[in-house]
């Protein structure tokens, strides 16, 4: 079944919600693992989102203009002796899409995993 072009898949909505939540806590930019961890904590899931599912969804959201990304400064990564991160930001369009989806479906209740807010 083909989905509507402007609709969001559950994993995409979860990513946007996680991004908005991190933004509200002052973290405007986030990397892939951080969003996987945020999703796991928000729905109190046991498992982290799978690599393939997560990065494919992040790429789709970026292509649709709901996220923006940049590679962080290599000096910062080498100073902290870790690999470079790709940092994502939820765009204004992304926030609107997240709010519209929130209105269309209720927010996740902690401890109850919404159908589709899957981690795979």
């Amino acid at each position: 079944m083909r989905r509507k072009p402007d609709s969001l898949l559950p994993i995409e909505l979860s990513i946007l919600q996680a991004g908005v939540a991190m933004r509200s806590r002052g973290a405007d930019e986030f990397h892939g693992y951080a969003v996987a961890k945020e999703i796991r904590e928000s729905v109190e899931a046991r498992r982290l989102t799978a690599h393939g599912t997560l990065y494919r969804a992040l790429e789709r959201l970026e292509q649709r203009g709901l996220l923006e990304s940049r590679l962080e400064d290599p000096d910062l990564a080498s100073a902290e002796r870790r690999p470079r991160r790709r940092l994502y930001t939820v765009t204004a369009l992304g926030i609107s899409a997240e709010q519209a989806s929130e209105r269309a479906s209720p927010a996740p209740v902690p401890g109850v995993q919404r159908p589709g807010a899957a981690t795979s």
Binding site: H31, G32, Y33, A34, A36, K37, R47, L48, T49, A50, H51, G52, T53, L54, Y55, R56, L58, E59, L71, R82, P83, R84, R85, R86, T119, S120
Partner: protein, 319 residues
């Protein structure tokens, strides 16, 4: 925390990296690198975060493998979506061809090497006794190697066809057909070898008499001839591949002299064989020189030290 336990997370990460290399093989480097950067960072953050919260390395390894396996369908979907008609793949066809040529260096001796028995009527009884003395395990190993060799030849034929058909259609069809046929012949030879070994066991155990000698000798003669047929098919196949490789400038031009020497040896050997003289020296010389060409051409293609592709070939290797 043991050293082994601490290593498990790293092993899981290595598996995740290896999977990335598999599903992103042949994609443009920008796409591959983007995914690799993200995965590298994710693995590092995951391990650091989990170890900081006191998780055991074994659990972290299982988590990483779990994320990897659950994400595989999405990884494959991502790859398939990128394979649209507008996608320009950069399959390193020279490297693939080089690997296949090097594989042939190992496969050809196995495929044509099922020989060397004394099949004369006088000497066959002692030959069969010797064969009966070979352990059952050794026989199974020999058969397994032959079957693997036959399978590998059929797969290599498909690989050569896929790699070379866009450039040299007729030569690649001929080379692939001859190589696949050699693979099938190798299967048949392995079955005959197994049957002969079983008969040899019966002969050594005293179960049967002259009928075993006659049947097993017939099988051995058939094996010898099939080994020769596999050799001829593989020689024709490699010659076609060599002509295609030199015609399209894929390997250094100097190697054509090695090939010419091999052809000459084989032709002289065949002429001597027909005239009833012992041609072993020439045929073996031709085969060894052909293996030398395969080794040199395969190494050159693998290392990217090719010849000078024709001007019309330039820019088509990405197709």
């Amino acid at each position: 925390m043991t050293t082994f336990a601490a290593r498990q997370g790293t092993v899981a990460s290595s598996i995740a990296r290896a999977w990335l290399r598999v599903y992103s093989f042949g994609l443009p480097s920008a796409l591959r690198e983007r995914r690799a950067t993200e995965l590298e960072s994710d693995l590092f953050e995951h391990e650091s975060d989990a170890f900081a919260s006191g998780a055991s390395p074994g659990i972290v390894g299982i988590e990483i493998i779990g994320r990897l396996v659950r994400g595989m369908p999405a990884d494959l979907m991502w790859r398939f979506q990128l394979e649209g008609p507008q996608m320009e793949l950069n399959i390193p066809f020279e490297r693939v061809t080089g690997l296949l040529l090097l594989a042939l260096v190992l496969l050809i001796p196995v495929a044509v090497g099922i020989d060397g028995y004394d099949t004369t009527q006088v000497g066959w009884a002692s030959e069969l006794s010797r064969l009966g003395g070979v352990s059952a395990t050794q026989t199974r190993v020999n058969v397994a190697i032959q079957i693997f060799s036959g399978l590998a030849l059929v797969c290599a034929a498909a690989g050569f066809y896929a790699a070379l058909a866009p450039r040299a259609k007729n030569l690649s069809v001929f080379a692939a057909f001859a190589m696949a046929a050699a693979g099938v012949v190798t299967f048949a030879t392995s079955a005959m070898y197994f049957a002969t070994s079983t008969l040899a066991d019966d002969y050594v155990a005293g179960r049967g008499g002259d009928d075993i000698l006659v049947t097993s000798r017939a099988l051995a003669l058939a094996m010898q001839n099939l080994g020769g047929a596999a050799g001829v098919l593989l020689t024709l196949s490699v010659c076609s591949l060599a002509v295609a490789a030199h015609k399209h400038g894929l390997v250094p031009g100097g190697l054509k002299w090695v090939l010419a020497f091999s052809f000459t040896c084989v032709l002289v050997g065949l002429a001597w064989q027909i005239s009833g003289r012992d041609a072993w020296f020439f045929l073996m010389g031709g085969l060894l020189t052909l293996l030398l060409w395969l080794l040199a051409a395969g190494s050159c293609l693998l290392a990217g030290v090719g010849g000078h592709p024709r001007q019309s070939e330039l820019g088509t290797s990405a197709a």
